[in-house]
Assembly symmetry: C2
């Protein structure tokens, strides 16, 4: 048995010592035919609730695999609490957004329709798969929750009073993100980015009036929507988020 | 004539009122057949030196186009001064890195070989094309300078004494990027990210001893190399870079 896990897998079932997990066709194929693992080889598993566990491959069959859980490697710990609210964008960029948001510690992904949102349909399965892969590869113990698309106004109407919303405001009128977040107190946060065409002026006016909204500028250049989202997440994590904690080992 | 430019083009020749610019086959095809522009339509042009100019399409031929420069729209102004030093990574991720680095204000791209760099060849033409496209679409007036690949040690041996180097240190030993940059004085900066496999321990030791190197941690999760680069650039721009300036119009 190879002691160091060859990969990390996100699975649905509860994890505990001695439990046997049945793998679906896709992860079984990946372990068997891509990584060429054999019975006895080690993999790490997590499900977003029970921490990370060491598992040992029992065997593979046609369209399935089985893993026996050996022992816990990491406790679940505190998960990130950071929402990303975004207007759907084109395919390669939305894949990228889901991946990077996961790496940067987003806990909840909220696709929303804004006035100028050009992309109507969101492939939630695909977004979820991107988030899972990013979580597997970057040692997260959770996968961001992916919420059903809704109108931005509907989400704002139910926005929790104790969570601030960092609005990426491309109008040039907002204060620089660094200045705003240097001075920010501890809080729960969300980040809101508009579609490729930006927010409509009426949307921006309405957003700025909401008590929980904090509008910020991301500098002198125009950023694409995906770039704006990841840049705002990085600055937020660095200044008021969990990047002040050391790397988990 | 359509007064608002349909697109922005990066071109090589000097720009000035009354000058006629001959377009190469690729941009001519793009204007003629993708954007379906016609003689008399407006485009914006920049070359990294002379600011941005309004041009009017004269006509298209087989494999060429011609534009007459009308008037200046924006002065050249101060260009960003921020270097990104990176180990080459796989194709989609390096494309993305060049694009996002351009949006985030990088002035110079330095591909370097490190001990664990797995990707040998760098397609400089492709990287340059990605940077040009990002500059065209995000209102930059310059395209980052793309330097020939070299050994990291060779670049460090010639590193300018007046430029600090922000080392994205995934070992967990460095201080959080937010804490370090909150306290940083004004300086010229570069950002250094390692390859997918990370820096070797001996490389990290040597890097940390250099007087201009400033090692930082990017939080508790493992970030991919491209994510680390963009995140570090965003935080740097927000705290000590040009994001404190308003959006240019």
């Amino acid at each position: 048995m190879n002691a160091k896990p060859a990969t990390r897998l996100y699975v649905a079932p509860a994890l505990g010592a001695g439990v046997s997990i049945r793998l679906e066709a896709a992860p079984a194929h990946y372990l068997n035919h891509v990584l060429r693992l054999a019975p006895g080889d080690a993999v790490a598993l997590f499900n977003g609730r029970d921490g990370e566990w060491l598992g040992r491959i029992e065997g593979f069959g046609k369209g399935w695999g089985a893993v026996t859980i050996v022992e816990q490697r990491r406790a679940q710990g505190v998960a990130p609490d950071l929402w990303l609210v975004f207007a759907p964008i084109k395919r390669a960029r939305i894949d990228f957004l889901a991946e990077k948001a996961t790496e940067l510690g987003v806990s909840d992904l909220y696709p929303v329709q804004t006035q100028r949102t050009a992309v109507g349909r969101v492939n939630l399965d695909r977004l979820h798969a991107n988030a899972v892969e990013a979580a597997e590869q970057t040692e997260r113990l959770t996968v961001p929750a992916l919420h059903e698309p809704q109108d931005l106004a509907a989400l704002l109407a139910r926005w929790p009073a104790d969570r601030r919303l960092l609005l990426c405001d491309e109008s040039g009128a907002a204060a620089p993100i660094g200045d705003v977040l240097r001075a920010a107190a501890a809080a729960r946060w969300g980040v809101l980015v508009g579609p490729e065409g930006g927010f409509a002026e009426t949307e921006l006016d309405a957003l700025r009036k909401l008590p929980f909204v904090c509008a910020v500028s991301l500098g002198p250049r125009v950023l694409r929507a995906d770039t704006a989202a990841l840049a705002a997440l990085a600055v937020l994590q660095a200044l008021v988020g969990d990047w002040r904690e050391p790397r988990r080992r």
